[in-house]
Structure formats: structure tokens, C-alpha cells
């Protein structure tokens, strides 16, 4: 990078009077913090993927294949904890939210830059503790990522450490959300009214509220598990007047809204990408913005659909089933808006759009299977089977994952000032999408046939589908390898690009690529909406 000189390197270039590593690790620049997050998240993602591949390999045949039962329990627990708490929850908001949000609204930074750096450190500490839970104490945790009591209260494995990590990560997530809310309220550039916020900002706003309002419940749940284990508190122990079902309520009051922390920002990314590559104003700006808030609100009321079979009253089951269907409405509204935007657009199938289209398809599969789970009658049949595993991987990997990859390809030229190989990027998207279906569709079938989740062994009649699924996991691995390699090549030696290679209309594209240290030299005055392409000039090198 030395060849390009400091000026051309924007915020990536050296800071006057500071050591290089220090200037990164203690940076208060939102762009640098976002990149730090992205790096850590991608490292953890690779760890999670390797654990996932190990799970699939173990399941390629009945009986023991590559690991024992106890190891298997630890591996799927760690896979879940790493993927949920260290990858998908922080993924888009902490990485791209940090990098893009201030640029999107014409601000110099987030509202609390030092707090921002602090929350990154909390993330790092949480990640270190979570990983060290693997190697210390009496063996890695084996409870599954949900830490259900009573098992989590009595198992001798390292649950305490893992739960502490979750608590710290939750704190980091709260601080990020809080920072974003204040930023969006206080730091919008003149002319950037609520009706002119890019949709990505709207989804971050809704997400931030969920982070602030739901995560404390996770915090208290985590503290109570520690209290159960260390002090024998008995709050969830029926022998001492406690109740394990209460644990499930507390856990899902956070963790269901958390799935919207995972998916909303991805929807925001897709809402940014689709208009740019159809060169058309987004269809129904208001409904997309409102549906983000509606998802956040309604999504907070449906937690008990994870507990239909746990012995709630029939009335409760009915109510939660109904509410679950209500959440599907705003999600569907978004899908209709995206499709309507594409309709008769001037479509350019660049990699970000490919990822966005795959997102829409995969998210639809995930959402529809969600409805199967959300109606109590069918859920009783498929609860805790591979159907659930298939469902949430379609939404999390197909949704959040593809949203993240789409964001990586969309903002790559802005962040690094270089371009990756576009044909190869498109190919990697397609390989990934195919692999994902080969990997997870068999799980839906397995679930309908009655294969329970979290089992280390299975009856021989399930073998065929498991083999297909495992082969799918290899295709996915190939797609990921190709994608990361391509991005890495682009980062090192990609062609240089100008300020606005995609011809997008949001504010970040008016800055040089990469953007300078202090964003806007003069505070921008916003006079047009984020999807008015008429005046936009393409600047591709």
C-alpha cells in the first residue's frame, strides 16, 4: 500500500503522530472501528464454519465417524455460540453500521466515538473468553447455544465462562445500539430529514432499539445462570420453588427479537442495493421504513412460539401463534417492495445485486418455513427436528449471511478504493446459493421425516439425506473460499476506482474512495432523497 501515498489512502492511511497499531486499536474513527469489527467477525465466521463442517462430516454416516458424542455436543454448542453471538448479531450493524451510518447521514462520526471503541474492546474480550471456554475448565460447554436449564445449571463443563462471554458481548451490543440511536437523532446533516434517511439507516435505527430494549433481558438471564451454577440460587430449580419454564421465557424474550437484530440490517443492505442496480427509485420508501419498525415492534411479542411444546396454556399457544403470523406481514411487505423496484428497472447484474437476489430467494424459503413453525399445529410435529435447523439456517445464513456478503461487495470499492473481479464474485454468489440449498433443503425433509436436532447418531433410513447435506456443506465451503480469495485479491491488487463506481445516490459516494479521516470536509447539505438517480454521475476510476 506504500505505493499509493497517504492522500490516496484516506482513513486507511497513517494518522499523524501515532504508532500504526495503536492508531488502529484505539481509534475513535467509526470507519476504522467498523473495519476492526469486520475483521474480527470474519475470523470468527471462519472458526464457526470450520466447526460446522466438522458437524456435517460427523453426520455423513450413522454411528461415530470423526468424533465422540461428548465432543459432538461441544462442537455444535460452540458452533452456535460463535455464530450467533460473535458473528451474526454484531455482523452488519457493528461492522457496516459503524462504517456507513455516519457517512449515510452526513456526520463526522458517531455520537460517542470513545464509547464506540470501548464496545469494540468489549467484543474482543467477549470473543476471547468465549474461545477460552473451549480450552479451560472441565471441557467445552455442551448445552447448545440456548443454555437451557436445568442441564446448564448442573453440567460440569465450562458453561459459566461461556455465559460470561455472552453477557459481555450483550453489553457491547447495547452500547452500539445506544450510540446509533443518539447518532441518528442528533447528527443528521442539514436537510437530512427522517423522510430522506437511506433505508439502511432506518433498519439500523429499528435494530438499535431492539438491541437496547431486548439485550438487558439476555444480560439478566446470563447472570442468573451464573448464580444458579456458582451459588446454587435455585430460581429455576423446581425442587427449591423455581421453574425452568421461566428460564425459557426470559431467554426467548431476548432471543426472538435478536433474530430481528440479525435480519433487519441485512434487509437494509438489500434495500440499498436493489434501487442502485435497477437505477430506479425504491418502490414504497415509506412502507419499507415503517415495516422495519413494525418488525421490531411485533417481533418483540412472539417469543413464546419457541415454547409451544413446553406446556403453556392453550390460550397462550393460540395468541403467540397468531402474533407470529402478524410478524410475517411486514416482512412480506418488504419482499413485495423489492420485487416491485426491480420490475422494469434498468438492471445491472453486478455482484451486490446477485447477492441481494439470492438473499430474497433464500429469505423467502426461510420465512415460509417460519410460518410452518409458527402455526402451533404443525410446530408440534416438527419442533426440535431438523426442520427447525433448516429453517433458521435459511434465514440466518441465506438472509443475514447473504446480506453481509452483499454489503461487503457493495461497499468494498468505497472502503478500499479498489475493485474485485466481478465475474468471479458473481460465480461465488451462485456457488454459495446452490450449496446452501443442497446443504439445508435436505434438512427440511429430514425434519418432516422426524429426525430430531442435536443428535449425534441416527437411524439408517436418514442416511441419504445426510449425505446430500454434507456434500452441500462442501459446496458452500468452496463458494466461501472463492469469495474470500477474490475479495483478498481485490484488496491487494484490484483496479483502482473513483468516488462512485456504482452510480449510487447516497452521501458516502460523494466522498473519495476510501473516504478521508474526517469524512466530509464541509458539512453536506442534503437536497435530494437517497434514491434520486437523475443527477448522479458515474465515476468508475
Amino acid at each position: 500500500m506504500a505505493d499509493s501515498g497517504a492522500a490516496g489512502n484516506g482513513f486507511l492511511g497513517p494518522v499523524a503522530g501515532a504508532g500504526h497499531v495503536r492508531a488502529w486499536l484505539f481509534s475513535t474513527d467509526h470507519k476504522r472501528i467498523g473495519l476492526l469489527y469486520l475483521t474480527c467477525i470474519l475470523v470468527m465466521f471462519v472458526v464457526g464454519v470450520l466447526l460446522g463442517l466438522a458437524i456435517r462430516l460427523e453426520l455423513i454416516a450413522p454411528g461415530e465417524t470423526i468424533m465422540g458424542a461428548q465432543t459432538y455436543n461441544a462442537v455444535f454448542t460452540l458452533h452456535g455460540v460463535v455464530m450467533i453471538f460473535l458473528v451474526v448479531i454484531p455482523s452488519i450493524p457493528a461492522a457496516f453500521g459503524n462504517i456507513i451510518l455516519p457517512l449515510h447521514i452526513g456526520a463526522e462520526d458517531v455520537a460517542f466515538p470513545r464509547l464506540n471503541n470501548f464496545s469494540w474492546w468489549l467484543y474482543v474480550i467477549g470473543a476471547c473468553i468465549a474461545v477460552s471456554a473451549l480450552f479451560t475448565g472441565d471441557g467445552p460447554p455442551d448445552t447448545g447455544w440456548t443454555f437451557y436449564v436445568p442441564f446448564s445449571a448442573v453440567t460440569t463443563t465450562n458453561v459459566g465462562l461461556a455465559v460470561t462471554a455472552v453477557f459481555i458481548l450483550g453489553f457491547s451490543s447495547i452500547l452500539t445500539g445506544l450510540n446509533f440511536i443518539v447518532t441518528i437523532h442528533r447528527l443528521r446533516a442539514p436537510g437530512m430529514g427522517w423522510g430522506r434517511l437511506p433505508l439502511f439507516v432506518w433498519t439500523l435505527y429499528a435494530t438499535a432499539w431492539i438491541q437496547v430494549l431486548a439485550t438487558p433481558i439476555l444480560g439478566i438471564t446470563a447472570l442468573l445462570i451464573v448464580a444458579e451454577r456458582v451459588l446454587g440460587m435455585g430460581i429455576f430449580d423446581p425442587a427449591r420453588g423455581g421453574d425452568p419454564i421461566l428460564y425459557q421465557h426470559l431467554f426467548w424474550i431476548y432471543s426472538h427479537p435478536a433474530v430481528y437484530i440479525m435480519i433487519l440490517p441485512a434487509m437494509g443492505v438489500v434495500s440499498e442495493i436493489i434501487p442502485v442496480f435497477s437505477r430506479k427509485r425504491i418502490f414504497g420508501y415509506g412502507t419499507i421504513a415503517a415495516s422495519s419498525l413494525a418488525i421490531a415492534f411485533a417481533g418483540s411479542l412472539v417469543w413464546a412460539h419457541h415454547m409451544f411444546t413446553s406446556g403453556m396454556s392453550d390460550t397462550a399457544v393460540l395468541v403467540f401463534s397468531l402474533l407470529t403470523f402478524v410478524v410475517a406481514i411486514p416482512s412480506a411487505v418488504k419482499v413485495f417492495n423489492w420485487v416491485a423496484t426491480l420490475y422494469k428497472g434498468a438492471i445491472r447484474l453486478e455482484p451486490p445485486l446477485t447477492f441481494a437476489l439470492c438473499f430474497v430467494f433464500l429469505f423467502c424459503v426461510g420465512g415460509l418455513t417460519g410460518l410452518v413453525l409458527g402455526s402451533a399445529g404443525t410446530d408440534v410435529h416438527v419442533h426440535d427436528t431438523y426442520f427447525v435447523v433448516g429453517h433458521f439456517h435459511y434465514v440466518i445464513f441465506g438472509g443475514t449471511g447473504f446480506g453481509l456478503f452483499g454489503a461487503m461487495h457493495y461497499w468494498f470499492p468505497k472502503i478500499f478504493g479498489r475493485m474485485y473481479d466481478r465475474r468471479r464474485a458473481n460465480a461465488s454468489a451462485l456457488i454459495l446459493a446452490v450449496g446452501l440449498n443442497v446443504l439445508y433443503f435436505p434438512m427440511l425433509i429430514l425434519g418432516l421425516q422426524g429426525m430430531p436436532r442435536r443428535y449425534y447418531d441416527y437411524l439408517p433410513q436418514y442416511t441419504d439425506m445426510h449425505v446430500v447435506s454434507t456434500v452441500g456443506s462442501w459446496i458452500v465451503a468452496v463458494g466461501l473460499a472463492l469469495m474470500f480469495w477474490n475479495l483478498w485479491r481485490g484488496l491487494r491488487a484490484g483496479q483502482r476506482v473513483g468516488a462512485n463506481p456504482w452510480g449510487a445516490a447516497t452521501l458516502e459516494w460523494t466522498l473519495s474512495s476510501p473516504p478521508p479521516h474526517h469524512n466530509f470536509a464541509r458539512e453536506p447539505v442534503v437536497t435530494a432523497g437517497p434514491y434520486e438517480f437523475a443527477e448522479v454521475r458515474l465515476d468508475d476510476a
Binding site: 455520537a111 445506544l178 437523532h185 438487558p216 440460587m233 423455581g242
Partner: protein
């Protein structure tokens, strides 16, 4: 740059209020558990509550409310630019918090002496409702006590800032936010006190 020199007062307050929300929700989880347990075991909770010392609890309530007062006075003092008085009032707040903790220590030790603490033999043999009561008691007053300790650290830190002249009459939002935090700690106790000591 700009906001280093002139901090965004409204933004800082907004951030603090949001944070206080999260604290309320953190305790909220426990309040929900308390409600469920209370409705399930009214008799056990009644009996458990009768064993707590109302004088102790009342004394602590008075101590905390007084500390809220000294905190509020400290905010006024800093706004008037009276640095010595600000420091004295903050010192008094930390001192009162210490009294609260000492009081709590004696109260808990008395219970421990009777073998009532989480995980003890005695708790295992206890009637379920009463066991649930004590579990909630230790969980909620324990978490509250932890917040008292955190609050003391925060106030001590702000005292350092005041002494160093970094918090003063034109720039006091840090102190004000610390005050808000302390009032929250006080407020939570004001709910805990009747729930545990006076439900009988």
C-alpha cells in the same frame, strides 16, 4: 473535532437515559420473576418477608434517599461553580453509599448465621415458597448491591474529574449523568424495600 470542544449536551443526556432504560430492563427481568413466584407462593413469601428486619430496611432506605439528596445538591453546586462544596457533597454521597453497604452486610450476615444463603442445607430443606422468596431476595438485593458499588466507583471517578477541573460550571454533563445513575440506584431500592420488607 467540533464535538470534542463543545460536547453535545442533549446527545449525552439522551445516551444516559437510554442506558438507564437498559438498567431498568435488567432489573425488570427479576421483577417479572418475583411477580410469578409471588403469585405462585403467596404464603411462603408472606412468611419469608416476616423474617426480614424492617428497622434495618427502613434505615437503609433513609440512607439511600439522603444520598440522592446530597447527589442532587452536588449537581447544583457544580452548576454554581462551587468546586469545594461539590467535592464535599459527592464525598458525602459515597460515604452514605458505604453506610448502606455496611448495613446490608450486617443484615446478610445475620441471615447467613441462621444458615439461610443460596445453596445452603437449610435452604434445601425449606418449604418451597420460602426458598423461592430467599432466592429472589438474594438475587435482587445482591444485584442492587452490585449497582451501589458501581455507583460508588463512578462517583469517585467524577470526583477526580471535578478535582482536576475537567468537570466544572460550563461542562458538567458527566456529573449530571452520574447523578442520574445514582438516582436510579436509589429508585430501584425504593421498589425493593416494600416488595421484600413490607409485603407481609
Amino acid at each position: 473535532m467540533t464535538h470534542e470542544v463543545q460536547p453535545d449536551y442533549i446527545g449525552a443526556k439522551m445516551g444516559m437515559w437510554l442506558f438507564l432504560f437498559t438498567e431498568i430492563l435488567l432489573f425488570g427481568g427479576l421483577f417479572v420473576l418475583f411477580a410469578v413466584h409471588l403469585s405462585r407462593y403467596p404464603a411462603g413469601f408472606h412468611a419469608g418477608s416476616a423474617t426480614l428486619s424492617v428497622p434495618f430496611g427502613s434505615a437503609n432506605t433513609v440512607v439511600l434517599i439522603t444520598s440522592s439528596l446530597t447527589m442532587a445538591l452536588a449537581v447544583t453546586a457544580v452548576q454554581r461553580g462551587e468546586r469545594r462544596r461539590t467535592l464535599a457533597l459527592l464525598g458525602a454521597t459515597v460515604g452514605l453509599a458505604g453506610v448502606f453497604l455496611i448495613n446490608k452486610f450486617f443484615e446478610w450476615s445475620a441471615k447467613f448465621q441462621h444458615g439461610i444463603y443460596p445453596g445452603s442445607e437449610h435452604m434445601l430443606e425449606m418449604e418451597k415458597g420460602q426458598a423461592a422468596f430467599y432466592a429472589m431476595y438474594y438475587a435482587m438485593t445482591g444485584l442492587h448491591g452490585l449497582h451501589v458499588v458501581i455507583g460508588m466507583c463512578v462517583i469517585a471517578w467524577v470526583m477526580g474529574l471535578v478535582a482536576a477541573g475537567r468537570v466544572h460550571r460550563d461542562r458538567f454533563v458527566t456529573l449530571e449523568n452520574a447523578g442520574l445513575y445514582w438516582h436510579l440506584v436509589d429508585l430501584v431500592w425504593i421498589y425493593l424495600f416494600p416488595l421484600f420488607y413490607l409485603v407481609t
